[in-house]
Amino acid sequence: MRTLRGWGKRLRAWIADGSRDRDLGSELESLVQMHMDEYLGAGMNREEARRLALIAVGGVEQVRQAVRSGRGFPWLEGLARDLKYAICTLLRSPGFSLVAIGIMAIGIGASVALFTVVRSVLLRPLPFSHPDDLVALYSRGDLSKTDSENGYVASGDFYDWQKSQHGYEQMAIWRWSGFNMSGAGGELPEFLNAGTCSWNLFATLGAGPALGRLFTRDDDHAGAGRTVILSWSFFERRFNGDPAILGKTIRLNGLNYTIIGVLPARFQFPHPLIQLWVPWQIGEGRNAVSSHYIHIAHVVARLKASASPAAALEEISAVQYVLYTRLRGSGEMEQGVIGTPLLEDLVGDAKKPLCVLLAAVACLLLIACLNLSNLLVARSAARRREMAIRSALGGGRFSLIRQQLTESVLICLSGGALGLLLAVGATEWLIKHWTELPRGYDVHPDGLAIGFALAITLLAGVLAAAPPAISSTSAAILGALQEGSRGIGGSLGRASLRKWLLTAEVALTVVLLIAAGLLFKSFLRLRTVDLGCTTKNVLSLNYFLRGDQYSKPEQIVSFDTQLLERVRHLPGVQAAGLTNVVPGGGYYGNYEISIHEHPAQATGEHHFVAYRTADPGYFSAIGIPILRGRFFSDDERLENDKFVIVNQELVQEYFPSEDPIGKHLRAQWRTTQGENYEIIGVVANTKYELGKPVAPMMWFPILGGIPGNSGDSVLVVRSQNDVTPLAMPIQRLITSLDTNLPVKNVLTMEQIVGQSTANSSFSATLVLSFAGFSLVLAAIGLYGVLAYLVTQRTVEIGIRMALGARREWVLRLVLIDGLRPALLGLGIGIVLSLGVTRLIGSLLYGTSPLDASVFLSVIATLLISATGACLLPAWRAARIDPMCALRAE
C-alpha cells in the first residue's frame, strides 16, 4: 500500500518536475544560508562563509542530483532522453529518415494488410456455434486412390446416411440454385442466386432466424406448401427491411412462395451471393431428391461432442460402401465419403495463393529490415567517433545500444503508423479486387491487426538495429579514438557487415523475383490460352426459362426461335446462337453415355461426358469450326431431336479408329430411361475453363425444348465491331417477349476470359510488385554500401592513383567490390529458389517451377540492376583527383 502511494507521488512528482525542482532549489539555498549564518556568527567574512557553507553542504548540484534520482522514474527519464536524442538525430538528416520511414511503412503496411486477410479468411473461426465440430462431407469415387477428388453427393445417398447410426449430431444437404423473380409493383424482374437445403441446415450450423422462423420438417417434403427464407441483404435491398413482408408471398419461377423468415446479416454461408433459401424437396425435382446417381449436392454435418471425427466418417463410409455394392450395376455410385473441416472446405482454394502472398510479404518486410539495418550501419560507422567518445566518458554499453535501438524503433514506429494507414487502404483494395476470395465480406482490420502491426514494428526495429548497434559498441570501440582521422582500416569490419546484409538482401530479392516471374509467366500463358472459339466482339447473356409459362417444349422453343429471329434482325448483329454454356464458362454438368454400336460395358464401369446445348446457328456464331459432318438443321427440334454433335476429344477417346458420324450415343437426356442420339457432326475442341485440360463434350439440340434441360440459355451474339452497344437493344427485345424474364451475366467473351484469369493475374501482379520493390531496395542498398566504401577509401584510392594506378583499374576495383556480394546473393538466391519454387508449382499453369527463361531473365535483371547501382560510385571513385584526395585530410 505504501509502495503504491509512493508510486503515485513519484508519478505526480515526475509530472510536476519543474515546480518541484524550483522548490528543491530554494530549500537547498536556505540550507546554505543557515550554514553561512553559522560561519558568519563565528566572525568570518561573507565570501569565506559561503565557500565553507557550500563545502559543508557537499555541493548543491550533487545533492540536487541525488534527490532527483530518488524522485520520479529515472529509467523513464532515460528513455525520454533517448527519445529526444533520437528525434533530434532523425530531424538532422530528414532525407535518411524519410527514406527509412517510407521503406518500413511499405513493408509493414503490406504485411499487416496480408495478415488481416489471412487471419480473416483462414484463421478466424466461422461465425457459428462450435464451428470446429462442423465438417463438409463429400463422396469419394474410388477408395483405392488416396488422392481422389471431393465429389458431390447424391441426395439418395444422403438420406441413407442420415438414417444410419453415426457420430454426427445432425447432417444437412444443400446446393446452389437460382430463381427468376417476377417483377412486381413496377420493379424489374431479377435472377436470384439461391440455395436449396434440407430443413435442418440452419440448425446444423447453429444459426437462428433474425425474423420469423426457419424451416421445419413439415416444410421439407414434396407436398408441402412452398416456403422461402430470405438473406438479410436481400430483405434489406428488395423489401426495404420491412418486417411486414413475413407471411407474404413472392413469385419465384412463376410460383408463389411464402416468406417465413429472414436470416441474420452475419449468416453468409456459403457465400454472400445467396439471396434466399428454399427447402430441399421443394426446390429439387422429385427425381433428384431420391436418386443415388445424380451427384449434385454438398453435405454439412455437425459432429457429436463425444464422437471422434475419424470414427464418424468411418461409419458413414461403411454405409456408402454397402450402397455402392448394391447399386453399382444400375448407375454410377461413389464408394466412400471424405470429410473436410467446414472452414477448410469454404476457403480451400484460396489457401495456397494467400500463403504465397504472405510469404512474399514476409520476404519484403525482411528485405526492408535488412535495408534499414544497412542504412543504420552506415550511420553508425559515421558516428563511430561519437560512440567512442561517449563510451570513454562513461556511457555504458547497454545505454549506447539502447540509444541506437530507440532510434531504429522510432523509425519503425513512424513507419508502422504510416504502414497501418496504408494497410487499411490496402486491405480494402485487396478485397475489392480479389473477386474470388472466400469470406471476403468478413475481412476488416481489427484490434488484432493493430497488435500484429505493433509487434512486427517493434520486432523490425530491434532486428534492424541489433547488428549495427552491437557491432558499433563492441569492445574494440576505443580503437576508433586511436585511429587516425584517415580511418582507412577501422571501417572495413563495418563494411563487411554491410556486405553480408546485402548478400542476404539480394538472395531474398532473387527468390521473390523468380517466384514473381514464374507466376507472371503462368498468368501470361493462361491469358493467351486459345479457348477454341472467337472471343472478339462476342456478347453473351443468360436467361432461364422456368415455371408454368415454360413447362411445355413448344413454349420454350417458341420463345427461343422468336428471340433468335428478332436478334438476328437487329442492325449490327452478324450472327446469333443459343447454348447453355459458352467456352470458358465452366464445366456445367455431365451425362453418363454408352455407345450403341459398341459392346456393353462391364458392370460398374461408367463413362461421363460433359454436355451442352446448341441451336443450329450457335457454332458459327461463336466461331467453333466443324471438322466433319454438319450442324443441327432447323427441323431438328421438339420430338425430332435425337441428334448430337461431339468434339474432337470425344472422338479420340471413344472412337479412336472409327468414323463417329452415324454412330449413336445413349444418354438420359430426355428421359431417365435414356435414348439413342445419332452423331451428326464433329467440332473442334474448346476449353470449358482456362487452365484446365480439354474434356470430351457433346451438344444436344436446345430446340428439343425439354423443360429443365433446354431452359438454361445463353444467347451468343457476334458483331462486326464493338458488340457492347448491342446489349441494351437485346435486353429490350427479351423484355418485349416476356416482361417477367430477368437477364443475367451480360458479358463479352473477353470479360469472361478476364474473369477466369483475374485471380492468377491478381497474385502475379502483387508478387511482381513486391519483387520490383525489393529489387529497388536491394539496388539502393548496393549503391549505399558502395558509395560509402568509396568515401572511406578516398585517401587510399588517391594514394594508389598518385602511385600510378590507372582510372580503369580503380573503376574495376570498386565495381568488383560491389558486385561480389551481389553475385554471392544471386547464387544463394537461385539455390533457395530451386526449393521454394516447387512449393508454388501447383499455382502455375503451363510453366515449370524451374522455367529456364524466368531464371535467366531474373539473373539478367539482377545483374543489370546491380551493375547500374555500382556504376555510379565506381565512376565517382575513378574520377577522384589524387591531389584533392590527399589534401582533403
Binding site: E27, S30, L31, H35, G58, G70
Partner: protein, 113 residues
C-alpha cells in the same frame, strides 16, 4: 555498494523519524545538526543522503513538509511527523530492537557460554 547504502538509508530514516518525534517539526539543517549532536558527533550527516531520505519518507507519507521561518529568521522548509509516520516509527523501533537483540546474541557468544 547498493546494499550498504540501503542499510544506512534505513537507519537514517529511523533517526529522522525519531528526531522529529522528539523535537517536533524541523528543517533539514536542524535535523542534520540534531542527529550529529545526539550521536555525540560520531556521525556526520551527508546532505546528499539526508535529502533523498527525506524525499522518500515524504513519498511514503510518514512525514509532511511545509515552508516556515526558522529561529534565525530564515525561510526554511520544515518536516513534520504524520500519524502514519508515528506508527511507522513505532513499528521500525520495535523491529530495530528485535534485530539488535538477535544480533547481540550472535555477536557475544562468549558471555552466553
Amino acid at each position: 555498494m547498493g546494499s550498504r547504502n540501503e542499510v544506512w538509508l534505513g537507519t537514517l530514516a529511523l533517526m529522522v523519524l525519531r528526531t522529529l518525534a522528539t523535537i517536533g517539526p524541523q528543517h533539514g539543517y536542524g535535523l542534520a545538526r540534531r542527529i550529529e549532536q545526539i550521536s555525540g558527533d560520531r556521525l556526520s550527516v551527508n546532505y546528499g543522503t539526508l535529502y533523498p531520505a527525506l524525499l522518500k519518507l515524504e513519498q511514503d507519507g510518514s512525514i509532511r513538509s511545509e515552508w516556515g521561518v526558522s529561529d534565525t529568521n530564515r525561510k526554511a522548509k520544515f518536516y513534520k511527523l504524520t500519524a502514519a509516520g508515528r506508527k511507522h516509527l513505532e513499528r521500525e523501533t520495535r523491529d530495530w530492537h528485535e534485530t539488535t537483540a538477535i544480533l547481540a546474541r550472535f555477536l557475544s557468544p562468549a558471555e552466553e557460554a
